[in-house]
Subunit: 245 residues, 2 copies
DNA sequence: CGCATGATTTGATCTGCATCAAGGAAATTA
DNA sequence: TAATTTCCTTGATGCAGATCAAATCATGCG
């Protein structure tokens, strides 16, 4: 169930104003973006874009979480990205995308028609610069994820995934031991993201519960009981804010 | 053994002129780039940049092949990219890189000091646009590689890797059955790129030789005896120019 | 409420690839 | 040309995680 809102919330009050593609815009540039933007909402489970769809618009995630999924001929799937608020969907200069974008929670997007948006980035350097920055950050994150997929053990994969959630969900908010977190994905979806099966995900998650690293209040809600142990379990070296944050 | 050439070959005669970061530049913009560029050469095996190095310059690959490598605390490594002529190294706006860049063949780079280059992209939209395009292409390629690492079998991984080589090495040139190709990486390096061990790489490569899909003239030189079979072995669907090309 | 449906857990077994081990072939150096 | 080193092949064995199979739990619905 998707709808296009008639209203256009003010950019100046937007929760992602300082992190999204518009982050660097001055008032004039923001006004131009504001002129072509449209909000769209998607319910949890809805497809946002399907592979091969004409890419008529690009967008920023305002609320909620979406995933990018690739599917092989025979049905095997690999999630290739998770989008949180301020992340960008679509790419100027391309007419279609080659993966599916799915809303895993209720999602609100701030959409721009691709053509007008392309014209805008050709003329307003601040948007193009920010978009380049965002793309390069995503590229770094993708490369970190390649290490996870290619070299990490099941346990390290789970720990890294949870650690990533901690960082992304507490961009603002009290991090540290004891923060309440939400698992936006099912076991199956997690498995798809980290290159495992749902059974292995379940087993590893429960193992970390028994070890006292995680504490579940619910199947979807949990807290980090021991952040240090979690970090050690990721197999990554010393702090140093990995790119997938 | 690395040296910085005193000479600056003319951009207008550059083999990557129409594909590199300068592809969209007009004569004036090209002149500005030409003013700050310096060629550097590296011998096969040389490190080009080390993790944590200050990123004093960015560059385009002119000749040769380089790899991007990530290393975990305990020594496990994952190659996260292969750079061919016209590919770009480094990112404006970041002071250091978090992986190693290594020349796997003799390599020539066209280097730009990072600061002047950043100033250039802030003012010449054609460079920024092309850089965005290149980055987004790399992001697509990284995502395709995530599918390979997370979901493909050893055989599919090898086939996909070889298929990628075919495409990248015959950007210009007679593709199709029977084109002579070079394996720029050792078995160990291939293993690092596709998330396997060198033994498995060796076995799969020999299996494809026995099946008549590949024909080796040498350990490093081979031809595709059956391109269709190779493509089927990748596990990818119908043609459709994957992003890692 | 009782049932249906989908998500999760848990157990048993299997297997693809890693790991361990040992030669052989090429390239490099002396 | 021998000696060294690096790269590659091939075989034997082991194991992490996949696959197969059943409960159990949760949630929505009539």
């Amino acid at each position: 169930m998707r709808f296009t809102a008639k209203i256009r919330p003010k950019c100046s009050e937007c929760p992602i104003r300082h992190r999204a593609v518009c982050a660097r815009c001055d008032d004039g540039e923001l006004a131009m973006l504001e002129g072509i933007k449209v909000y769209r909402s998607f319910a949890a489970g809805d497809p946002i874009l399907r592979r091969g769809d004409p890419l008529t618009y690009v967008a920023s995630v305002v609320h909620g979480v979406a995933t990018l999924n690739k599917t092989m001929e025979d049905g095997r799937t690999q999630m290739v990205g998770m989008l949180f608020p301020s992340d960008f969907i679509g790419r100027p200069g391309r007419v279609e995308i080659d993966f599916d974008v799915v809303a895993v929670t209720d999602v609100t997007l701030c959409c721009f028609q691709r053509r007008p948006f392309e014209r805008l980035i050709a003329t307003t350097p601040h948007i193009a610069q920010r978009l380049l920055e965002i793309s390069l950050d995503e590229l770094d994150a993708a490369r970190d994820w390649m290490v996870l997929l290619g070299r990490k053990t099941a346990r390290e994969k789970i720990a890294t995934f949870v650690h990533m959630l901690v960082r992304r969900q507490s961009v603002v908010g009290s991090l540290g031991d004891g923060a309440p977190l939400i698992l936006p994905l099912t076991r199956d979806e997690i498995a798809s993201y980290i290159g495992l099966t749902l059974e292995t995900v379940s087993r590893q998650l429960n193992a970390m519960k028994k070890e006292g690293i995680l504490r579940f209040t619910d199947r979807r809600r949990f807290e980090i009981a021991d952040l240090t142990a979690l970090h050690i379990a990721t197999g990554d070296d010393e702090e140093g804010a990995p790119a997938y944050c």
